[in-house]
Symmetry: C2
């Protein structure tokens, strides 16, 4: 009789571009989100958790990054609702939520949201298809006071999660100023305006001379490919470059340079006035230029936003993958976008907000050694006699009731070496041992595993003898002795 | 010229069966998850956050609820990985994660996971297609000490989130005992065994007499439909009913009853021994029968699990939707399932765990008034003169720097009544007012809005006069006065 053919075993693998997070990766992020939520709460923002799934029509095509394909979502057809998709950011759902619930929400509505978003893109190194976003937005407030508030909150948030003043800078620009520059240039052709916007977006990468070439005839890029230019003459391109490089020694100087760059444009003047108001409001709140500054070279998202634009940058240096020093760079961006709700209601609703790249911010704190030290594992109570599991169980209960992280060894207890290997893998600071002999004498052995590891690494024979890493105490001294050892290593 | 036809506006609506969570709905859940994570951490469990998306082959067909359709997932075809789906629980991903990472994980591996899961089912009232699960599992520990630990942890968790001792009970049963009963009955036909298991699963709903009818000829249910029975004789059905009702006055009595019910079955005896060991271990840890008890009437998931089964029930009464008193019921369930990882690796790996219904637990705490009191809104600094926004901005900055939740009014300040209506909608405890006159005199007006509302509801004219709800203080007294008022209402 032929043997029945079995189905092949499933591969134990996440789909491409997805990953799992373990231990401190999860708890450090949770802790950071908790801290950020605290700051947002203090600013009067309310939590919102919208559903992960939205109808495709509600999501629309509002990806802030112009280079991304509109199709970059995970979508499927639902029996009830037609095509639905996983949210690709937290802004599009906010527009839907505000349109749906606007009669019950206060105006202005300040909300924050934190959670995973999904992008159906080719994954790459460090580029995942599911990642966290953490947003705060104010809907229904036309005044730049709302923008200034977001900048102040961003500054407070960075300091509260552990980036000290001086290690970050919130930079503010304004799309309206750029519009004024384009108007002054007489660049009214929409396609050409878009081409200029796309070019400006590369300022971070290619610098002033690169932008000059790309606004003109074109540029040979690093890979040797020739990129066609927008086709402006040097004279035509000059105001754009003046705008991008108009940062002065202080806010007043920058604003003066900008006023020169916009010529007689009304929308440009409005933009410069807004930047001036923002600077004044922030000064009044104690947020000087060492924390937040006007900087016209901020270009990210300038094509997407309609007014003020913000970016938070970490200014300290780290070593990149090739060992070269470089600035850590941007961890947050945002700005004003006044048309998002209009799709649903027909009415234009002013909105401004910011998104923090939580995973990048965590990476920054790790790079600076501010988080991610060795996490303390649990105290491990070893099992010397498996018929006395109840004794060991009562020890861990006692330790836990005293607030000490503790577990009993639950693997096969036969080989004691395996138990100590397990404790090592768990990064346990302390192991507790109670064999039959100890039980009879009413004592327990307590091993200081951290000291033991240190001694094993470097101690001389004399030190070994002088500093024992194992102690015998009476059973009722268990908690006190463990606590004493833990307090040394805390 | 014909008018251009516009695309219709998108509906601002979540897909059916999905919803949004606002304000305290979000923060109360976050707080509860944080508390639960603290208990799990103390027990040595490590956080795990697996990806929301899994390959369909990795998910398999392991829904614990036997009545659910296997198709109940949201799935789509991916270019790289074939069919992928949103996770429907946190157990199937754990099996995949353990199989994928087993060489890097400690054995046993204790992990907890919290997050949304998705079910593609017909939504109903209070039944959503996205909801939270909060699981803890131990993988690789064959001993019932692992099951006992889960029960103890569940008990501690309930108390720590605010369910006092006496208001809950963790009940423990064992699938092996039932297997012993079926063996004793001589019921070796697999289809008939499954039919008995399905019938037992209805014990909660139809009670002893209902199960008796369903094991026999059949039963007329409440809707008038006739449900066919399994077809056992009364004598044949008796051991099953003896098993279900074998709970005695204490653990010893219950265990004696169970030993009688299983006759000479070896697997049954193993099950009863396990229950006895669990009871002994829990007693040693201080978890007496007022917190955790052996109860053979626990039937949920008995068809799914392979050994000990647990359920946490809240024992206090609430009023149901028709105003009748009823016990709140189950908020958590779990048990031992030894075959989950085998699909991937071919090796059987013992596992035991528990899942807490976070949303039900929150509902219970709300029903008991332990959470969900009126959340305190922010102090609202009103805008009397919109050219002095910087003054108001510096007030809120000062309040926030002193840890007080505060915001400046960012709507159109023209109508002062609207500002107070806004403060009301925000449930603000205090409004701050500084008009031109106050500014000139160096003072601010501080309105106690909670006292104001109370007085408006019930005060006599005398009380109104005696207890003013508005105070004038000098500008430098702002923080102190606001703090004084807030402390009254904290």
């Amino acid at each position: 009789m032929a043997k029945e053919k079995k189905a092949p075993r499933p591969r134990a693998q996440t789909p491409k571009g997805f990953r799992d997070y373990f231990g401190t990766e999860v708890t450090e992020r949770a802790h950071m989100l908790h801290t950020i939520a605290g700051v947002y709460h203090r600013y009067g923002f309310e939590a919102l958790e919208s559903s992960a799934v939205e109808t495709v029509e509600a999501l629309g095509k509002f990806l802030p990054d112009v280079d991304r394909p509109n199709e970059g979502v995970f979508a499927w057809e639902d029996d009830d609702d037609g095509w639905v998709a996983l949210r690709y950011d937290l802004t599009a759902p906010l527009a839907r939520v505000y349109a749906q619930h606007r009669n019950d929400l206060p105006t202005p509505y300040r909300r924050y949201a934190m959670g995973p978003v999904w992008r159906n893109e080719k994954p790459g190194p460090g580029r995942f298809r599911q990642f966290y976003q953490c947003d705060a937005d104010t809907v229904g407030a036309p005044s730049v006071a709302a923008d200034a508030e977001i900048c102040a909150m961003l500054s407070d948030t960075l300091e509260e999660v552990g980036i000290p003043r001086g290690d970050y800078l919130v930079r503010v620009n304004n799309r309206k100023v750029l519009n004024g520059v384009l108007e002054t240039m007489g660049l009214s052709d929409d396609a050409q305006q878009q081409a200029v916007l796309r070019t400006i977006d590369k300022f971070d990468k290619v610098g002033e001379s690169g932008v000059r070439e790309l606004l003109g005839k074109g540029r040979l890029d690093a890979s040797g490919a020739y990129i066609d230019g927008v086709g402006l003459s040097d004279d035509q391109a000059a105001p754009v470059l003046a705008f991008l490089t108009s940062k002065g020694a202080d806010a007043a100087a920058t604003l003066a340079n900008l006023r020169a760059a916009i010529g007689g444009s009304a929308i440009g003047a409005e933009g410069v006035d807004e930047l001036e108001q923002i600077a004044t409001l922030l000064d009044a709140g104690g947020y000087g230029s060492s924390r937040i500054e006007i900087d016209p070279s901020v270009v990210r998202g300038l094509g997407y936003y309609t007014g003020p634009v913000f970016e938070a940058e970490l200014t300290f240096e780290i070593l990149d993958e090739k060992g070269r020093k470089r600035q850590f760079g941007s961890v947050s961006g945002g700005g004003r976008y006044d048309d998002l709700v209009k799709r649903f209601t027909g009415q234009s609703v002013p909105a401004t907000g910011v998104s923090i790249g939580v995973d990048r911010l965590l990476a920054a704190l790790r790079a600076k050694g501010r988080i991610g030290g060795t996490a303390q594992g649990p105290v491990v109570v070893t099992v010397m006699d498996k018929d006395r599991m109840a004794d060991y169980q009562s020890m861990v209960a006692e330790l836990r009731n005293n607030g000490i992280r503790a577990e009993v060894y639950l693997g096969n207890p036969k080989n004691f070496g395996n138990q100590l290997k397990y404790a090592d893998k768990r990064e346990s600071p302390v192991a507790v041992i109670e064999g039959g002999d100890e039980k009879a004498r009413g004592v327990v052995q307590i091993k200081d595993l951290i000291l033991g590891a240190k001694l094993a690494q470097s101690a001389s024979l004399e030190e070994w003898k002088e500093r024992p890493s194992q102690y015998e105490v009476t059973r009722d001294q268990l908690v006190a002795k463990v606590r004493e050892i833990l307090s040394q290593w805390a």
